[in-house]
Amino acid sequence: MKNRIRELRKKAKLSQEELALAVGTTRQTITSLEIGKYTASLKLAYKIAKYFNLTIEEVFDFEEDMEEM
């Protein structure tokens, strides 16, 4: 699933490790999310969006996944 995590993280001048600690996950999960290999759960998606003061839809692109169905 496409997302804006990398873009938002770079804008906030955060490392993957720092973002991971802030949202309660590991650096490896952030890496996987950024390259689109892993799709976050609703809980993690909410935490990430909340951390950047955005809505889930503003961070994650659900449209592409819905089209594939």
């Binding site: 590991t26 490896q28 999960t29 892993y38 976050a40 809980k43």
Partner: protein
């Protein structure tokens, strides 16, 4: 995080008890199974396969004690450092790691169940005992799967 701290403390107690209980067993295994007496006195191991089995026996007990001590030290270090504890919690409950574990378990189960069944049929051609043992293992795995599926179907 307090709940996790309590969990870690109880794990530490179990690790400590386990290490204390199994340490004499490990020492015994080292002397008895790894033939330290024989090495010192120069008595060679007569039976090769018996030696291999003894080696495995000793290794399992010794590795278990080393694991318990390692886990205890790791938990002590984590409980003293809030950052480390937090990191350990995130690593343990990381949703991606859990997803990987679930996928891996599923694939392992599927491979195991077919391989055992094929081996059961093949060994049945020349050794009934091995074939029946494999069939029993296959039934046990299948029953465990059915029971756990039922359990989680009600739970989730």
């Amino acid at each position: 995080m307090n709940k996790y701290r309590i969990k870690i403390k109880s794990r530490m107690i179990f690790d400590m008890i386990g290490a204390v209980v199994f340490l004499p067993v490990a020492v015994y295994a080292l002397i008895r199974y790894w033939n330290i007496e024989g090495v010192i006195s120069g008595t060679p191991v007569k039976d090769f396969f018996g030696g291999v089995i003894n080696g495995i026996r000793g290794a399992v007990v010794i590795a278990f004690v080393i694991y318990l001590i390692f886990a205890f030290v790791k938990n002590v270090l984590a409980i003293r450092n809030e950052e480390k504890l937090k990191k350990m919690y995130f690593e343990e409950y990381d949703e991606r790691a859990l997803a990987i574990s679930e996928h891996s378990s599923r694939v392992t189960y599927n491979i195991t169940i077919y391989i055992i069944l094929v081996c059961c049929v093949i060994t049945g051609l020349y050794n009934t005992t091995i074939s029946i043992t494999l069939l029993a293992v296959w039934i046990f795995i299948l029953l465990t799967r059915i029971i756990t599926l039922g359990y989680y179907n009600n739970k989730i």
